[in-house]
């Protein structure tokens, strides 16, 4: 490992140092504010380091990792998510929580570390290690309040099912290794594929599809989402999805041409099923976290469409569309969960989750309700929000490819989705029924939410701002 490679790994190293510092701090003296400050500082430094040496071309770092523009963009997204979660955890825990604070931040940094490493992986070993690092630390966060029965149940389900999925992933890699004798992803997938190798690849896809909660492997999503503390749910719905998707798209762009037709067909059906099933399942949902889980299934279906198209036509344009859509999804998810986080408390037995509890939020907390409204509108793909641009990108691409089944499913899904998104918005504006408590103070978190909301609108109105930048990044990559 040369010094230059170390230099390229700087964001990762900063996060590692952050983890160790936090452990020492927990050992020395426990302090919520200090821990949060250290975490945010670490993440900001990592963000700075990443931007400072943003990759302009592909560079390998040892055998295991690589540093390239698309991954860089995804890492930016991941850090943004992690900063959001870190900022929200303070108000969510409150000053005198029964649970300890530092360990949450340590776990947060660890899962962020895992996700960034996953994005950078180019070797089976690093893929497995980083995906497990990410999932295991997330698992502990899912049951962070040990007195919530639902949280424990959800975490247990996630542990078992995710274990099954990881074993599928491993079996898939094992079959691929057995046929190709290679462990580097590029070499592993570039050799001609027999049926065994193809089955292996399908198993790998299945393992990743589980993390993305794509349709035939989506069962775990609603229960885990509903059980977990809302801030951990945010991490689950954004961080792991974004990181796994980055790997997913990297893998499916590597497969040999003769296998493409099969994969396109399979992924198309998965995308269609995800879009339709996710939206239909959410239709009458009252629990907001479950609703977001179903919505995540549907949105991952949309993102998968981008992957499908990517195999069909010009890669860079599609990557732009996929990145934009994912960004839109992340921004909206962060905002919705952020509002829920500000209205809930970790120590309580339940988060604010049931839809009727939110009734009339606008009349008591107009800003929070407006943020939430905007986020839901963005998820529904309404104009002037970033979600519209994302959907617009995908639709144009799908039309260009003449993938009419996909287009139909996208449209039907959006129409069904509109119903339940609007239902939430109507609830927010209905007459106030009971008092809703909001976390007071937490100005930094609220400012951050404001910044993200502004981004949602700005990129919705002026898509050119990021579009050009993305195109520049991806054209090089």
């Amino acid at each position: 490992m040369s010094l230059q490679e170390l230099w390229l790994l700087l964001p990762v190293l900063i996060i590692c140092v952050g983890v160790l510092t936090l452990m020492l701090q927990a050992a020395w003296q426990r302090n919520n504010v200090l821990a949060q400050g250290l975490t945010v500082l670490t993440l900001t430094l990592a963000l700075g380091a990443l931007i400072r040496q943003y990759p302009t071309d592909m560079r390998t770092i040892t055998l295991l990792f690589e540093h390239e523009p698309i991954g860089g963009f995804f890492s930016l997204l991941l850090l943004m998510v992690a900063i959001s979660v870190a900022l929200l955890q303070g108000p969510y825990m409150g000053k005198n929580s029964k649970e300890v604070a530092e360990e949450f931040y340590i776990l947060l940094l660890l899962s962020c570390l895992g996700s960034i490493l996953l994005v950078m992986s180019r070797h089976v070993a690093s893929v497995i290690l980083s995906i497990e690092l990410m999932s295991l630390s997330m698992l502990a966060m899912l049951a962070y309040n040990r007195e919530r029965k639902l949280a424990l149940e959800g975490a247990m389900k996630y542990l078992l099912l995710s274990g099954a999925a990881t074993s599928l992933l491993l079996l898939g890699f094992a079959l691929l290794y057995a046929t190709s004798g290679q462990l580097l992803l590029t070499q592993m997938l570039s050799s001609p594929m027999q049926l065994v190798a193809k089955s292996g690849f399908v198993l790998v896809v299945a393992g990743l599809a589980f993390k993305l909660s794509l349709v035939p492997l989506h069962f775990w999503t609603p229960d885990v989402y509903q059980g977990a503390p809302v801030n951990s749910t945010l991490l689950l719905t954004s961080l792991s999805k974004a990181a796994v998707f980055a790997l997913f798209i990297k893998l499916i762009l590597l497969i040999p041409p003769e296998f493409e037709a099969d994969m396109v067909r399979m992924l198309s059906w998965m995308a269609i099923a995800s879009m339709l099933l996710g939206n239909w399942l959410a239709l009458q949902q009252r629990s907001l976290k479950r609703l977001m889980a179903y919505s995540a299934i549907a949105h991952m279906g949309y993102v998968l469409v981008a992957g499908v198209i990517a195999m069909g036509i010009d890669h860079s344009l599609v990557l732009e569309g996929a990145s934009y859509y994912l960004l839109a999804y992340l921004v909206a998810s962060i905002l919705i969960f952020a509002v829920l986080t500000l209205l809930s408390k970790l120590d309580e037995q339940q988060d604010l989750d049931d839809l009727p509890q939110l009734q009339g939020l606008f009349w008591q907390h107009p800003w929070l309700a407006s943020v939430m409204t905007l986020a839901f509108l963005s998820l529904a793909g309404m104009p002037i929000t970033i979600g519209f641009i994302g959907k617009f990108y995908l639709l144009t691409l799908a039309v260009k490819l003449s993938a009419w089944w996909l287009v139909t499913a996208m449209l039907v899904g959006s129409a069904v989705g509109l119903y339940y998104y609007l239902r939430v918005i109507f609830t927010l504006f209905a007459p106030l029924q009971r008092d809703i408590q909001q976390t007071s103070g937490a100005y930094l978190s609220k400012m951050w939410i404001g910044v993200i909301t502004a981004g949602l609108l700005l990129l919705g109105i002026l898509p050119g701002l990021l579009g050009d930048e993305l195109r520049r990044i991806l054209a090089i990559g």
Binding site: L168, F210, P216, F219
Partner: protein
């Protein structure tokens, strides 16, 4: 100095936004200061910018604000453009608008919704400025719709009376017809030229088929006709008088209704390329001015008289456009803005003094009780009938002279115009005689406004301009191709004056109140009073068949289909949620089954 151009529309917008965000919290005084002050600043600013622009001698000043829609080959910028035409329009909008706002502050001071009023008014000025300053048809259309919206909101400002709301809806729907036509026209232009930038379209070397261009121009004329209340979309304007008088003065006399004239003048090179379209414009103008003149003769509501007169005067402007006298048409637009704003505001003063009485037959004898106000009325009417020396004289003369000579118009149009001049004189003096002479009304407050009142001060500049506005020389040399200035024989030049004098005599004989004037009522009178039966005709032709159709389809056949779709979705939801039963074993089997399904698919498809 010219770099501050963007501030001219931004100032009213900012004021509107501030007033909107503080809705109901500011005192009327602050509201008035903000609402009037922003327009005043904009007016002063446009004055200085205008001076700087004229001094610079540039043909066009162009200011790009930001890239709005980055469409690859035809990006749409939010950009302003100032040339001689838009300079005059800006001057009229901000200058006359300032006076009207000032007056409105006094008129609306006691209204509890004064803040809402000024939000709409300032927003209107912003939209109107965007309409005339925008450098692309997209911005023009934005302003066009914006003024339509504000007009709708202001006509129905006193929304507690259902009649006002009805009038507002009527205005919106009728102009909507025109707007749709215009939208289609713009789309045709975009497909043909690949851009909506005005200068690009006008100087485009792309050859376009004559009939396509003809259709586009016809649709644009449709838009102009709707906005400017010309035949056949003129029916909304008289009803629009339901709004407060300052609104009528600003929107339905001075600015918005002349947007159609501006549109045609702005795009005149396009119209010149099309055979016969300008003759059509001339026909529209000539017919409207005569019909509106006749209708004005039979009105009993003072504001409706003025509304029909506005329609008629815009008819003159269209006639001028049709006769290639674009500069004269815009000139008439300006002078008309002066004296018609004066007339409407004076009417507002009279209405205030008579405790909201608008029927002219219940006025009478105002010369004695309200001398100052009556003088304003008199001067406004003199300018309207083009009394030699007043502002209206110069502009109307120029239009009529051009009409006689133009190859697109001719003597027939000229004689219709002269007939219109006769009618103008007739209804103007009828109004004057019935309102100001004869036995005094019982309702009138005895004391006139003091000369320092806010009801009078804003009228003074308008008064002066109505008299001497004709001596302003407008230079359009860089916008309109210099038309050979008509040299017509003396009798043609003086014929309209003679006819107006004749109209005065006839009015004296017919209408000078010797006893208490009475309103005549008969089938013919009623027919004329209702605007020559157009409302009746449209009602029969469009409204009733539509209502019949709505009645037939009361249960809404198509809705059943949607209800079925909704039902289907809910059933699907009910079936599918059973798969999410919370049992870990089931989930595990489901996940593995999904995996097997994927593998099976792989093998199956081979």
């Amino acid at each position: 100095m010219q770099d501050l151009l963007f501030l001219v529309p931004v100032l009213p917008l900012a004021s509107a936004l501030v007033l909107l965000l503080t809705a109901g919290r500011l005192s009327p005084f602050v509201v008035a200061i903000l609402g009037v002050g922003s327009i005043g600043l904009a007016a002063l600013l446009s004055l200085f910018i205008g001076l700087a622009f004229v001094a610079s001698g540039e043909p066009v000043f162009h200011q790009v604000l930001f890239n709005w829609l980055p469409i690859a080959n035809a990006p749409i910028n939010a950009a302003l453009q100032l040339d001689q035409l838009s300079l005059v329009m800006t001057g009229v909008i901000t200058g006359v608008g300032w006076m009207i706002h000032w007056y409105a502050a006094a008129y609306m001071y006691d209204d509890k919704d004064i803040q809402r009023f000024f939000v709409y008014m300032n927003l209107f000025v912003f939209a109107m400025l965007i309409l005339v300053l925008g450098d692309s048809l997209v911005l023009l259309y934005l302003g066009w719709e914006g003024v339509g919206l504000c007009s709708f909101l202001l006509i129905g400002f006193w929304q507690h009376d259902p009649n006002n709301v009805k009038a507002a809806k009527k205005a919106f729907i009728v102009t909507r017809v025109g707007d749709t036509a215009m939208m289609l026209g713009l789309l045709i232009l975009f497909t043909e030229f690949g851009s909506l930038h005005i200068a690009t379209i006008l100087s485009s070397p792309v050859p376009v088929a004559q009939h396509t261009l003809w259709l586009a121009c016809l649709l644009l004329v449709g838009g102009a006709v709707g906005k400017s209340a010309q035949l056949p979309l003129q029916t909304w304007l008289p009803d629009a008088m339901a709004g407060p008088p300052p609104v009528s003065a600003l929107i339905h006399a001075a600015t918005m209704v002349t947007a159609g004239v501006y549109l045609i003048a702005r795009l005149h090179p396009l119209f010149l390329q099309v055979e016969g379209i300008l003759t059509l414009v001339a026909w529209i103008g000539a017919l409207t001015l005569v019909l509106a003149g006749i209708a004005a003769l039979f009105q009993s509501d003072i504001k409706r008289v003025l509304a029909y007169s506005t329609m008629s005067q815009i008819g003159y402007m269209f006639l001028g456009l049709g006769a290639l006298a674009f500069d004269s048409a815009i000139f008439h637009l300006m002078t008309h803005a002066f004296f018609k704003a004066l007339l409407f505001l004076t009417a507002g003063s009279i209405i205030v003094k008579l405790h909201h009485q608008q029927n002219i037959y219940k006025m009478g004898g105002l010369f004695r009780s309200l001398p100052l106000t009556s003088t304003f009325l008199l001067i406004g009417l003199l300018a309207l009938v083009a009394f030699p020396g007043t502002s209206g004289f110069f502009s109307k003369e120029a239009i009529l002279a051009a009409t006689w000579q133009a190859h697109t118009a001719g003597p027939v149009f000229w004689s219709l115009g002269v007939l219109g001049a006769f009618l103008t004189s007739l209804y103007s003096f009828r109004l004057l005689f019935i309102v100001c002479f004869g036995p005094a009304s019982q309702h009138v407050e005895e004391r006139d406004f003091s000369p320092a009142s806010h009801f009078v001060l804003p009228l003074l500049p308008l008064f002066v301009l109505a008299v001497v506005g004709g001596f302003i020389t407008l230079d359009f040399s860089r916008v309109f191709a210099q038309a050979a200035h008509p040299h017509v024989t003396l009798w043609i030049e003086w014929m309209p004056v003679a006819v107006s004098a004749f109209g005065f005599v006839v009015a004296w004989v017919l209408y000078f109140p010797r006893t208490t004037p009475r309103q005549v009522d008969g089938t013919m009178t009623r027919f004329c009073r209702d605007g020559l039966g157009f409302d009746w005709l449209y009602n029969r032709l469009f409204t009733q068949p539509l209502r019949l159709f709505a009645r037939l389809n009361k249960s809404d056949v198509i809705d059943h289909f949607y209800r079925f779709v909704a039902w289907l979705n809910f059933r699907l939801n009910a079936v599918l949620v059973t798969s999410q039963n919370g049992k870990l074993r089931w989930y595990l089997y489901g996940t593995l089954a999904g995996c097997v399904l994927m593998l099976g698919g792989l093998i199956w498809w081979r």
